[in-house]
Every structure is written in structure tokens, then in C-alpha cells.
């Protein structure tokens, strides 16, 4: 386990380092925090650490000394000694109290900084759901970057360095909690209520840089594979060649069910100009439906329960959904014909995405979170296009249905929580109808 060796090496105590605050800080926090507030928090933490250690050592030393010195000796009764001493008792009541007051304020000051976002902070909308994170960027698009960690492909959220970012967070099902250890902060996320948190990340150290070419990217992947693991570094994005980045874990810290421990993401800090470049690359407004569908498959975490190559999973595979008969757990079924009729099929898909509970493909469990409010109509059209394209019975012209004077959808007036909608950025119109 290379990680274990790393862990051991940077922790091996030597007379030189064991007395340094820095060594203890490494031991406790593994690395410096990634924001200025994290630094202040760590200072408080280390201060408390030494405070507690000294008290503890003092008390235990006293205790063991007494136990040894006053151990029972045959036939000897403890001599009379005072059973209380008012000045002493007052002293050891008052002195700790003073310390405690000081500790409270030390924590309180930093706390207020943590909860008060600066006025110039950029507000992004974050939606947590079982078991995925979703951030909408100012241009209305979601992060399309993902990385593989363990058995999961998880989203990567690019964030600009040295720029205060405020997250306006909401959950679409149960409680979650936004926790970035490197930021040393945490905020619970509730359904139906906004909570906010903010951070201003330090500039990336430059240790990690984006691949400078496709070849570079491939070599990284291969070297990772050769070590028997998976490459979970930066994807290849032309605009970001060689740009330094720094990755931080984003965990869900409020228990939220089966895949609570897989509900991770990566917050990737890049210089602001690079961030803006990246932002342009992910604007999904111009994407053709099929491409958008592919992208949504990863962004929305469909891949956590559905496969595209026919392998079984928590949910039915998307391979050959279109054009093949299926039976539902309530006994009803759809014929191949119905599944080939684009209208019927797309309606079925829309229903299954927005209210999965209505029709359950047997023998799969009813586990999917309703995506009503998370996908606008265009997204769904794109997904349908992608699903159709995965079938070997897909129409010859290719699966992307053309847009043709169709209603604008995904308006705030729909059940979509408006907060998740890019203000003033309405997707183009599409229709479920296939070209004939």
C-alpha cells in the first residue's frame, strides 16, 4: 500500500521534529488547510491540542505519583488530612473557567468569519441528492468533468482560486452535509430550505498540472493502470493544458443512506483565468442532444446505477432499451412495437426519469430518486436521444431528434426549483418526435 508508506514516512517521529508544532499539525491535519480561514481554524485547533495535552499530562502525572507514593502499607491507616480546602477549590473552579471563556471567543471569532460571506462573493447553486452533488455555474451549465475513485465515477467541480465563492445549497431528498476537509468547514443541507457556506481557496501549489496533450493524458492513465489502480487525476482539456490545479475532497458528512460513503466529489482549484476558460468549454447550450445526453449520463450520475454496455446493475442497463420488449414488476409490459414507437417510448423514458416509482422494470428494486426538478425537458430529450443511440435498433438517421418550433420548457413555472435554473438562460426547444 503506497498510501500507507506515505502515511508512515511523513509521520515518523524523530527527536528533532517531535517537539515542533508543525510535526503535530501534520499528524493531526495531514496537510495545511486550503483557505485562509482553514489556517486560523488549525491555529485554534493546535492551540487547543497543546492546552489539552498539558492539562492531561499534569493530571495523570499527579495521579500516578499519588498512586505510587501512597500505596497501602500493611497495618497502616491513612493519616488525617484535610477533606476540603476552600481557596484551592475556588482556584481550580475559577482558573479553568477563565480558560474556557478564552477558548469560546477564540472559536467564535473564526466562526463568524466562516458563516459571513464577503459581499463580493460569487453565488453558485449546489444541489445535493442521493448520492450525487450538482453545482450550476453562472453560465447555466453543470460541471462535465468526472473522475474515477474506487468503484465510482464522481464529479469534479472546478473552482477559481483567490475568489470568494458562496454556495447556496439545497437537497432534493434527505439531509446531506457539505464537507471539504481541506476547507475545515461543514454545513448541513436540507430539503426545502437554503443553507449557505463560502470559501476563498488558496492558489494551487503547482504540484499537479493538467495533461499537456492527449498523449500525456494517456501515459498518465497507463502508468496508473500499471500500478494496479485507476487514474483519478485531471482529465485532458485542451484549453487547460499544463494549468496547475489542486484537488480537495468533498464528502457528504450527514448520513444519507446506502451510498453515503460513495457520495464524494472533488473540488479542483485552478487559477481564475483558467477557470473562466474551462467555464466556456462546458457551456452545454450549443451541444447537440446526443452529446448532451452522453454528458448528462456522467454529470447526473446515471452511471452509478445504469450501465451502457448491457452489464447488470442496480437499475436496468441502457443498452437496447429502445426497441426491445420489457415487463414491469406490476405485471404489465411494453411490446417491442411500443418500444419502437418514438412517442410512446420517449413518454415512457420521461416518466421513468421524473417519477421512477410509477413503472418498475422487474426484477429491479424501486430505488431511483425522482429527477423531477433536476432535469429540464431538453435534458430529458437529450437522454432519450442517447438511450436510443445505444440500441442496435436505433433509427438509421442517428438518434438525435431535430428541434422544430417546439415549446420552450424548463421554465421556472415548472416544478423545477427556480434556484437551480440558470437565470435567463433558457435551453433551446426540442420535441420528442423522431424525424420520419
Amino acid at each position: 500500500m503506497s498510501s500507507i508508506q506515505q502515511a508512515m514516512t511523513h509521520m515518523t517521529p524523530t527527536l528533532a521534529n517531535i517537539f515542533t508544532n508543525d510535526w503535530w499539525h501534520k499528524l493531526w491535519f495531514r496537510a495545511d488547510g486550503a483557505t485562509s480561514l482553514a489556517k486560523t481554524t488549525d491555529e485554534t485547533g493546535m492551540w487547543l491540542w497543546w492546552f489539552c495535552t498539558l492539562w492531561f499530562v499534569f493530571l495523570m502525572a499527579l495521579m500516578f505519583y499519588f498512586v505510587v507514593k501512597y500505596r497501602r502499607r500493611k497495618g497502616q491507616i491513612a493519616p488525617k488530612s484535610p477533606s476540603h480546602n476552600t481557596p484551592l477549590e475556588i482556584a481550580w473552579t475559577v482558573i479553568p473557567t477563565l480558560f474556557l471563556v478564552w477558548i469560546f471567543f477564540k472559536g467564535f471569532w473564526t466562526y463568524m468569519d466562516k458563516v459571513m460571506a464577503p459581499g463580493d462573493a460569487v453565488t453558485l447553486d449546489l444541489t445535493a441528492s442521493k448520492w450525487n452533488w450538482d453545482i450550476v455555474y453562472p453560465n447555466g451549465s453543470r460541471s462535465s468533468a468526472t473522475t474515477v475513485i474506487g468503484a465510482r465515477s464522481i464529479p469534479v467541480f472546478y473552482m477559481p482560486a483567490d475568489r470568494p465563492i458562496q454556495l447556496r445549497m439545497q437537497s432534493s431528498d434527505v439531509m446531506h452535509s457539505f464537507f471539504v476537509p481541506a476547507f475545515r468547514t461543514k454545513q448541513d443541507i436540507f430539503p426545502n430550505r437554503y443553507t449557505t457556506t463560502w470559501f476563498k481557496a488558496n492558489a494551487p501549489s503547482g504540484k499537479d498540472t493538467h495533461p499537456t496533450s492527449v498523449a500525456d493524458y494517456d501515459s498518465r492513465v497507463n502508468s496508473a493502470k500499471s500500478k494496479g489502480g485507476m487514474y483519478s487525476g485531471a482529465a485532458y482539456i485542451k484549453e487547460l493544458e499544463g494549468v496547475p490545479y489542486e484537488d480537495h475532497w468533498l464528502f457528504c458528512a450527514e448520513y444519507c443512506g446506502a451510498e453515503h460513503s460513495e457520495m464524494a466529489a472533488i473540488v479542483r482549484i485552478v487559477p481564475e483565468d483558467a477557470f473562466n476558460k474551462w467555464l466556456d468549454t462546458i457551456g452545454t447550450g450549443s451541444l447537440p442532444p446526443l452529446e448532451l445526453g452522453k454528458r448528462l449520463f456522467t454529470i447526473q450520475g446515471c452511471g452509478q446505477c445504469h450501465t451502457t454496455d448491457g452489464r447488470p446493475s442496480t437499475g436496468p442497463t441502457w443498452k437496447n432499451l429502445y426497441g426491445y420488449p420489457v415487463t414491469f414488476s406490476d405485471g404489465t409490459s411494453m411490446t417491442a412495437e411500443q418500444r419502437t414507437d418514438m412517442a410512446t417510448f420517449s413518454n415512457y423514458i420521461r416518466e421513468s426519469v421524473l417519477t421512477p416509482a410509477v413503472k418498475i422494470v422487474s426484477p429491479y428494486p424501486n430505488q431511483m430518486t425522482p429527477y423531477a426538478g433536476k432535469l429540464n425537458d431538453r435534458d430529458i430529450q437529450a437522454l432519450i436521444a442517447y438511450i436510443v443511440s445505444l440500441s442496435d435498433k436505433a433509427p438509421a438517421e442517428g438518434a438525435a431528434p431535430a428541434a422544430e418550433g417546439q415549446p420552450a420548457s424548463g421554465q421556472p413555472a415548472l416544478s423545477t426549483p427556480p434556484a437551480n435554473q440558470p437565470a435567463g438562460n433558457l435551453p433551446a426547444n426540442t420535441t420528442p418526435a423522431p424525424k420520419q
Binding site: 458563516v115 459571513m116 460571506a117 441528492s129 442521493k130 447556496r168 439545497q170 437537497s171 432534493s172 431528498d173 434527505v174 430539503p191 426545502n192 430550505r193 437554503y194 443553507t195 449557505t196 412517442a343 420517449s346 413518454n347 420521461r350 416518466e351 421524473l354 417519477t355 416509482a357 410509477v358 424501486n366 430518486t369 425522482p370 423531477a372 426538478g373 422544430e404 418550433g405 417546439q406 415549446p407 420552450a408 420548457s409 421554465q411 421556472p412 413555472a413 415548472l414 416544478s415 426549483p417 427556480p418 434556484a419 437565470a423 420535441t431 420528442p432 418526435a433
Partner: protein, 314 residues
């Protein structure tokens, strides 16, 4: 046999430093006479009358002088009277007045604990918006319900909504073949969808199937293959309440086409600002106006007639 010498002897009480026993003996066997009890009952009934009267009076006053008393006045008065009543019950009926004081102390502790409970809980829930007002209120008043998968009526509402969305898609598909859809139809679609969900939540009924069919006829043109297709689907599986909803809502949209409503949709669902809660859906406001009429089918039908078909298609 149960008594120990110590317990029977009188010296025993001196040995007890706190005299609970002695005190108990005098405190417990008190007899509260019927006169006291009746007087207390009389007062209690009196206060009951009083509290009802004041409640009525407040309403009346508001009416007479056309003022609105702050809501806490009502609560404060009612609560203080209730407290007096409670004290009387405890003091006389429950004999706390004559009883071992420890019981009174205990009750005070209890109410103290209760006060702490209320105070600190309120301290949190009422001060959520102190730093950032957006945190104070619900995002969608009454809740989104999404994710509460095990809640039948929510699921029904959502399911109905999306099923309805499907029918609209079919409708548009059919329409796309005959004529171009207009922006009005887009609004209509959305409004129908929301109406379906909202009204479904509110459990409206009524025979709407035929209305919807006639609706289709006028929208698409009777006899076209598209019409037949949709009609077949609709008359097959379409749940009635939704159709009723659709009907009611659709007629409202007719007005909108004439001018106001189509834009209203966007205004009804702005981004939540400070101390502002979102309506349950885009059309809640309109529905609450429509509410009283809704149960009466004929009334709607009447509406329908007053707004001739065709207004919308330009």
C-alpha cells in the same frame, strides 16, 4: 410485622434531620371541602366563558373599528386566562396548595424545563435568517415533496403531472404534423401541466374526459389521425381529475392569450429573495382564485362557453 421498632418509636423523627415523615403526615391528609371545590368550579367556568368572550370580542372590535390587532394579543390574552385556570386546578383540585411543597417545587422545575425547551428551540428556528435572510424561509412553501418517495399523494401528484406532460408531448407531436405550435401553446402546455399536478394534489373530481376530447377536437381538428391517436390514448387511461384540472386551467389560459396571463407565469415564480417564499407551483395563485368555482362542473362549462375557442391560435 412490617413495622420496625425504630419506625414506631417517637425518637425516630428527631433522628430524621429533614422531617419529611412528620411533614408528610400533616401535609398529605388534607380534606378540601365541597364549598371550596364548588367555588373553584364556578370560577373555572366563569373564566372559560371569559376567554371565549374575549376571543369573540377581539374579532368584533376588528370589525367595528376596522383595525387589525397583532396576532399575539389574542394569544397573550387566551394564554394568561388559561394559566390562571391551570393554577386554580392545580392549587385546589390537585391540592398543591395544601400539599407537601416538594410537589409544587417539582412542578415548577417541570415548567422550567418546558420553558427552556421552547425558548432555545425558538432561538434557533426564528433566527435562521439573521445572517443571510434567504435561509429563513422554505424554498417552496409547503414543501417540495420530491424525494419523499413513500408518500402516496405526493407520488400520485407527481406521477399524474408527468403522465399529463406525456399526453401534451403527444398532443404537440400530433400538432407538429398539422400546424406549427405557437408560443401560446407552450404556455398552455406548461399551465396544463402545473394545473394537473396542483389540482390533483387538491383532489378535484368531475367528468372531464369529454371536455378534454372536445378540447382536442378544437385544438387539432376533429378526424385527423393525430386526433384519433390522442383521443384513443386519452379516453383510455387519462385520470379524470387531471382532465378536470386541465379543463379548468385551460380556460384560464384562454384569458391569458387575450393578454395578461402568459407573462404572469414567469412573475409568479421569481428567484426567492430575502423573506420571500415561493408559491407551491407557478399557478397556485391563480388556483386559489379559481378554487371556489372548481367543484361545480357547470360553472366551468359556463366559463368555457364565454371564451370562444380559437382565441389562442394566431
Amino acid at each position: 410485622m412490617a413495622h420496625t421498632p425504630a419506625a414506631d418509636s417517637h425518637g425516630f423523627n428527631e433522628l430524621d434531620p429533614h422531617g419529611f415523615e412528620g411533614h408528610g403526615q400533616h401535609a398529605s391528609h388534607v380534606i378540601v371541602g365541597p364549598f371550596t371545590l364548588r367555588t373553584v368550579l364556578a370560577f373555572l367556568l366563569l373564566f372559560t366563558a371569559l376567554t371565549v368572550a374575549t376571543a369573540q370580542l377581539e374579532t368584533a372590535i376588528m370589525g367595528w373599528f376596522d383595525i387589525t390587532l397583532p396576532w399575539w394579543v389574542n394569544v397573550a390574552v387566551a394564554m394568561s386566562i388559561a394559566t390562571v385556570k391551570a393554577i386554580m386546578v392545580m392549587a385546589y383540585f390537585m391540592q398543591l396548595k395544601y400539599d407537601n411543597p416538594i410537589n409544587t417545587v417539582l412542578m415548577l422545575f417541570t415548567f422550567g424545563a418546558l420553558a427552556i425547551f421552547l425558548f432555545f428551540t425558538g432561538l434557533d428556528l426564528f433566527s435562521r435568517g439573521a445572517v443571510d435572510p434567504i435561509k429563513q424561509n422554505q424554498v417552496v412553501a409547503g414543501g417540495t415533496g420530491s424525494g419523499i418517495t413513500s408518500k402516496p399523494n405526493q407520488a400520485v401528484a407527481l406521477g399524474a403531472k408527468e403522465r399529463f406532460l406525456d399526453y401534451l408531448a403527444v398532443l404537440q407531436y400530433a400538432k407538429a404534423k398539422s400546424t406549427e405550435l405557437t408560443a401560446t401553446d407552450a404556455n398552455t402546455a406548461r399551465a396544463l401541466t402545473d394545473a394537473a399536478a396542483t389540482l390533483q394534489r387538491q383532489g378535484r373530481g368531475g367528468d372531464a374526459r369529454q371536455r378534454f376530447v372536445s378540447l382536442l377536437a378544437e385544438r387539432i381538428g376533429e378526424g385527423t389521425p393525430a386526433f384519433e391517436q390522442v383521443k384513443q390514448q386519452v379516453t383510455g387511461t387519462m385520470p379524470e381529475p387531471i382532465l378536470a384540472a386541465a379543463q379548468a386551467e385551460f380556460e384560464r389560459i384562454h384569458l391569458d392569450v387575450a393578454g395578461h396571463g402568459a407573462t404572469a407565469h414567469h412573475e409568479e415564480a421569481p428567484l426567492p429573495g430575502p423573506n420571500r417564499t415561493m408559491p407551491r407551483t407557478g399557478t397556485t395563485g391563480a388556483l386559489s382564485e379559481a378554487a371556489p368555482h372548481a367543484p361545480h362542473g357547470d360553472h366551468n362549462g359556463h366559463d368555457h362557453d364565454t371564451h370562444p375557442a380559437g382565441d389562442h391560435s394566431h
